[in-house]
């Protein structure tokens, strides 16, 4: 079931486009923002509201990296693994992060705080290596900076 607040926000997205369905990606983001991820039940509720079949909406949902169809931690860390970060020390960074959190890409820490995922170029190649925590971009990342970040978001 969608909440009144979610419906309000989805209605706003629908009002911006000429065809109802065109707002479906935004609708998924609205519910994901509230619930952290998009479960099967949530997907079905959104599909009903968008007047789409769940299968159709799921094929859209799975196409996009930023729609999570599995539970994620409270904070999602997106680590750029593209070329400029790659040549500027990405591998050390990944090593440090995975060791520190004790998890691999795609996993969530046992306390439910962090999920780490690889991401394509974050458009910050002049200050590589780069990563994002939720919606914040961090550049020139070093192991020390990572330690500080993990504390900040803990």
């Amino acid at each position: 079931m969608l909440t009144t607040e979610e419906i309000q926000q989805i209605d706003h997205e629908i009002s911006l486009v000429p065809v109802r369905k065109a707002a479906c990606i935004e609708a998924l983001k609205v519910v994901q923002k509230q619930r952290g991820w998009v479960s099967d039940d949530t997907l079905k509720a959104v599909a009903d509201y968008m007047e789409m079949s769940p299968a159709e909406l799921d094929s859209v949902a799975t196409f996009y990296n930023l729609i999570f169809r599995q539970p994620v931690g409270r904070h999602v860390i997106l680590v750029c693994d593209s070329i400029s970060c790659w040549v500027m020390g990405y591998e050390n960074l990944k090593e440090h992060l995975t060791q520190k959190l004790g998890i691999q890409y795609g996993q969530t820490t046992p306390d439910g705080k962090f999920t780490i995922l690889p991401n394509v170029c974050l458009g910050c190649c002049d200050h590589a290596p780069a990563l994002m925590v939720d919606n914040d971009l961090y550049h020139d990342v070093t192991p020390d900076k990572i330690n500080a970040l993990l504390e900040k978001y803990a």
Partner: protein, 434 residues
Amino acid sequence: MGLKILTEHINVPGIETLEVYRKHGGYKSVEKALKTMSPEEVVEEVKTSGLRGRGGAGFPTGMKWSFLAKPEGVPRYLVCNADESEPGTFKDRWFMEKNPHALVEGMITSSYALGANTSYIYIRGELLFVLRILEKAIAEAYAAGLLGKNILGSGYDLDLHVAPGGGAYICGEETALLESLEGKRGNPRNKPPFPAVKGLFQSPTVVNNVETIASVPWIVNNTGAEYAKIGVGRSTGTKLISASGNINNPGVFEIELGVPVEEFIYSDQYCGGIWKGKQLKAVVPGGSSVPILPANLILKTAAGEDRLMSYESLSDGGFVSGSMLGSGAFIVFDEDQCIVRNTWNYARFYHHESCGQCSPCREGTGWMEKVLHRIEYGHGHQQDIDLLVSVAKQIEGNTICPLGDAAAWPVASAVRHFRDEFEWHIRHPKEATA
């Protein structure tokens, strides 16, 4: 420093606000175009300017605009492509973050020229903070009567929306972008029909890059003929270059097209030379989808002429000894970089980002990744090198969209120019993985 068209005021404090932006001549092109010019006259100026698409393909903007179909009673759209996800490219993000009103101004003037009453800026979903900056600028423009109904009393109406993507590189391809805007998977469409004939919601649509649109106000204010005087040959105007990799001053530089590559790499005005006093090994001059060139061929063409930062000069020699300007993402590798390892990184990227519609791209990118991985990790065979070339050939030209080519070219060019490095990896599996 050369002429600055896009970045003249970029470091002025407060330029992201309407007030400061206007104080520095902002929105003049809107007044001029809407009050004193017909839409056709604006298109004509852009044609004369010789401006070419800054998203990578370099298609003449004025020509694209004049191809826009105008059936009676059907809306037309302008969509700004701000999806920028090409590894190595960050100029659009940088520009929108610093000077959002310059893009909004370009959108208004360009939408007027095309007769669009609703326009969209499609921005990649990761960059929510840039989206907020744009939304703020747009809200200020509405409040000042620069957007909405009857703009500045001219009778022209325009609504401008920002639409965020869902995180998919392929949505930068214009037809995948349109699918995504319609709420679908980002599968590229067959072209033709081009978006100019059948685009968003089946209506005629122009898709242009952020930098392309941001160049329009200067052209309207100063005339296309003046713009055409800047640059070299058919590479007119200035270009934002995203410079990264092993250099002393990574960042975005606005250059007049035609600056020698050597000057761009070594001058303190630009990249400031290779970091830590190392030697230059190779450059990918136009983003991860263009061929890599070794130091000698990036500095000089095969005929021994100075290589210039222009569409023509960078592609001189075709795929045998040249590359492309592309989106202007200049990625520099120093002598310590391993070409095999870096090529594997590209291959992995393209395999992950292939939408999977065409089998040569879906299967071929997977093959290339696998073979490169095995060479890099000391399990390669001599035949693997030719296998890579043959897979790349089978992808090239056989797919719906150019992502397939973009995956094939970096691999084919790395083998062409650095074959000995691949052979070395295969002959020395232990040292290669060390």
